[in-house]
């Protein structure tokens, strides 16, 4: 009998220590959400490089009794990388190394399109405050409209860490849905003649301009907005690696190996913020709806300013490039190209749209910086 009793006690102990004993309905629902995200990433190929680790992180976050965030280990290090804003600037280093600022330097007016698209950020901020979110939380929700994942995570970590999971998931989900969200708005706001406008070829940009731009932009923006100095400086450092012509190895590492490694950590860590107790709330649904409002508002505002610039330039600017002002590099620029080419098959807007597209990255970082400067407690 003693042996049988000891055996049963041991089995009970194993069961009580297992995750099954603490497994909740919320965990089950969130694992289903993770599986759905995995299907979207692998089956539908929606941003698979980001959505796959986010989805898997979401599944891992809902394993009970793991102590991932309480005990020292790789999971805690990944969490710290997000909590202390280490990963977003490193991602920006890679983004900078991948970005060609040539179209922006050749046509600096496109910076205004990048600024106009930030309107969605502030519409969403106002909407969030109307729904009862604090100004800090609303600013973090609004930045979803910037369509810039690292900036959204950076902002959420600083302003509303409790909403990080929902904000990151909304930001990356909408970024992957840019080809579905933007075209109807672009078509609704423009005539076929406007969409068919062909733009002149951009001027050549000298190496001097390509070298001076990242260095001086980092200095100017960092002095103006110190809260985003880390993001902007790393973006411009990465771009300097690319343009200098003497740091090819650093440029290659930044845009490939380092960026991929940090993406794995950042995306997995983001998914790991999606535990049932933090994610299954009414606030999450509100954030997802506000994110859509921000995205649609930003696209509409960019196209609207594009129309104004089209009129002012005597029909030399295609308003469709305005929608690329929401960052989502280079997806938003590709959407401008795609919609423009449908209206006029000989239209090539991609390079022109890259100007507002990279301006949107800077614009979103500036918007984040101004909100942090104004609203941070």
């Amino acid at each position: 009998m003693d042996i049988l009793s000891a055996f049963i006690t041991s089995i009970q102990s194993v069961w009580l220590d297992s995750g099954f004993a603490s497994f909740t309905l919320g965990n089950f629902i969130m694992i289903l959400v993770g599986l759905l995200l995995l299907y979207m990433a692998i089956g539908k190929e929606f941003e698979p490089l980001l959505l796959t680790p986010i989805a898997f992180g979401c599944i891992m976050a809902n394993f009970p009794c793991t102590g991932f965030l309480e005990e020292p280990g790789v999971m805690q290090v990944i969490h710290y990388g997000i909590q202390y804003e280490i990963f977003p600037p490193l991602i920006f280093l890679g983004v900078g190394a991948m970005t060609d600022f040539g179209p922006l330097i050749a046509n600096p007016n496109t910076l205004f399109l990048g600024a106009a698209a930030q309107f969605g950020v502030f519409i969403s901020l106002a909407g969030a405050m109307a729904l009862g979110f604090t100004a800090q939380e609303a600013s973090a929700i609004g930045i979803i409209g910037g369509a810039d994942g690292p900036t959204a995570i950076y902002m959420a970590s600083k302003m509303a860490p409790n909403l990080l999971g929902a904000i990151a998931v909304a930001a990356y989900s909408y970024m992957s849905l840019v080809p579905l969200i933007q075209p109807p708005i672009m078509k609704l706001m423009t005539s076929k003649e406007e969409r068919a406008v062909k733009m002149e070829q951009l001027r050549n940009v000298t190496k001097f301009e390509r070298l001076v731009f990242p260095v001086s932009s980092a200095i100017i923006i960092s002095l103006l907005l110190p809260p985003v100095a880390a993001l902007i400086s790393m973006l411009m450092l990465g771009n300097l690696f690319r343009e200098s012509g003497v740091t090819d190895r650093l440029s290659d590492t930044s845009q490939n190996a380092l960026c991929n490694i940090v993406t794995i950590f950042l995306a997995t860590g983001t998914g790991m913020t999606m535990s049932a107790e933090h994610f299954l709330t009414v606030q999450t649904i509100e954030i997802i709806l506000l994110g859509l409002l921000a995205f649609a508002g930003g696209t509409a505002a960019g196209v609207l300013l594009g129309k104004v610039m089209c009129r002012l330039s005597g029909g030399k600017i295609n308003p469709l490039i305005g929608s690329a002002g929401v960052s989502a590099v280079p997806m938003a620029a590709r959407v401008s190209q795609m919609v423009g080419q449908k209206a006029n098959p000989s239209n090539f807007l991609l390079m022109h749209a890259m100007g507002p597209n990279v301006a949107g990255v800077i614009g979103t970082a500036v918007a984040a910086g101004t909100m942090m400067a104004m609203l941070a407690k």
Binding site: L104, I105, P108, N109, L111, F112, G114, A115, Q118, F119, V121, F122, I123, L125, A126, M129, A130, A135, A138, N204, T206, K207, F208, E209, V212, F213, S216, S217, I220, I221, L224, L225, A359, I362, G363, V366, A367, T370, M371, M374, L375
Partner: protein
């Protein structure tokens, strides 16, 4: 920050974003103006010197006893492999019977044509 009015926050932030990006656009124009390399890049480059006429490649040395048809067949085979006939220095009868010849034949037949 005192104000909690979302419209005021929105207006202030949009103004700052536009102002910062406007300053940046002015700065980009300034860089273009002061660019010391712009004139050099804009100036038409001098026409490159005419390349000297290539010397006629020496005709390959063809050993006695090899028929013209064989030379033509070798030239055609080399051409299909992407080798210009002008690079061929000599065509000689292989004088390695036995293992050497077998090895050469094996080497040639094992080559994969792509």
């Amino acid at each position: 920050m005192e104000t909690q009015n979302p419209i005021v926050i929105m207006l202030i932030n949009m103004t700052i974003v536009f102002a910062v990006l406007f300053v940046l656009s002015l700065y980009i124009r300034l860089i273009h103006k002061i660019d010391p390399t712009a004139k050099a890049a804009a100036a038409p480059k001098a026409a490159p010197k005419a390349a000297p006429a290539p010397k006629a490649a020496p005709a390959p040395v063809v050993e006695k006893g090899i028929a013209d048809e064989t030379v033509a067949a070798i030239a055609a085979a080399l051409a299909t492999m992407g080798v210009g006939f002008s690079r061929v220095k000599a065509i000689r009868v292989a004088d390695r019977p036995g293992w050497g010849g077998a090895a050469r034949t094996e080497g040639l037949t094992s080559l994969k044509m792509r």
